[in-house]
Amino acid sequence: MKMIVKDFGILALIAAFACGVGLVVDRFRDEPIGLAYRTPAQRLSVPVGQNQSADLSAGPEENVEISMVIEIIDLDRLGQLMEEKRVVIFDVRPNIFFRMGHIPGAHSLQEKEFETDLNSAKLLIDKALEDHKQIIIYCSGTHCSDAGKVAKKLSDLGYGNLMVFESGWEAWQEAGLEEEQESL
């Protein structure tokens, strides 16, 4: 028993050491996360595209007015945009989940297979931007970071009109809205 108490004390010291090392390592990161938690969408709330050049040669035409700020939207706003038919939606979850169910009309653009999937998605995105549509990106839910990652990658490629549907598939399902499935 004495030994267990002693071992517990040593583990407490190791835990304290781990806290210190963890905090120090974070300070030396290129992008420290700090102590205040921010959701993936909140981390994107800094206008990502603003400090970039307006070179859109990789994507949309130059004469199209495009917002380079990644906007975070909720379910109501998504519904409104879908009603107005002003959106192209991308589901960035792994393909198996996309096939099990996704927002009607959404296309798969997996974060894990971004480079490959972008080849087929590029035409859709270019067409959407020509038609002044919004590009909506979503993943599984509020704490899923894949939608933000894909939005950032697209923004870095020069694409604009990007929106992240923050609460994602979870909120869509909870609202009991229509789902589209593909054969597994």
Partner: protein, 160 residues
């Protein structure tokens, strides 16, 4: 003699497997703390102001514990295995609580998303952690025995 050699082999196999896995898991989380903090937040079990603190310190703790299992010292094995038992009990408790609350989170434990239907992810993670727990208990008992706590002095001498 052969049985003793195979016991040592199994002991070291479990030790290297668990130690390696926890070092790998810790390194993956340390590399991408944002994703790990999202995974912690998705369980809705910690106040948000503790999420990043946990995401930064837990991976270092896992790496240290993993390293302790690989160090060929009895006290290091005993303490490392004890740490693993506590960690796995904590993980199982958190996962069970999330499962009971109908949360379909991904624990992101090894820096990868399991290609499983959402409702299977947590039960599979609980089973995996139970396996780790059993292995950790095996190592801890082994370390405890070697510390001579459950042997009479004469038996220890005989063992030496």
């Amino acid at each position: 003699m052969r049985s003793s050699a195979s016991k040592i082999l199994i002991h070291w196999f479990v030790r290297i497997l668990l130690g390696g896995l926890f070092i790998y898991a810790g390194a993956g989380k340390l590399k991408d703390p944002s994703s790990f903090s999202d995974a912690i937040a998705s369980f809705s079990i910690l106040p948000l102001h503790l999420v990043n603190f946990t995401a930064l310190s837990l991976p270092v703790f896992e790496i240290v514990i993993g390293l302790m299992l690989l160090v060929p010292l009895v006290s290091s094995l005993r303490i490392g295995a004890f740490g693993l038992i506590l960690l796995n009990l904590l993980f199982i408790g958190i996962l069970t609580s999330a499962w009971a609350r109908g949360i379909r989170a991904d624990c992101s434990c090894f820096g990868v998303t399991l290609p499983l239907p959402p409702h299977w992810k947590i039960p599979v993670a609980i089973l995996r952690d139970m396996f780790f727990l059993v292995a950790a208990v095996f190592l801890w008992m082994s370390g405890f025995r070697r510390s001579g706590m459950d042997r009479k002095p004469s038996q220890i001498e005989a063992h030496i």
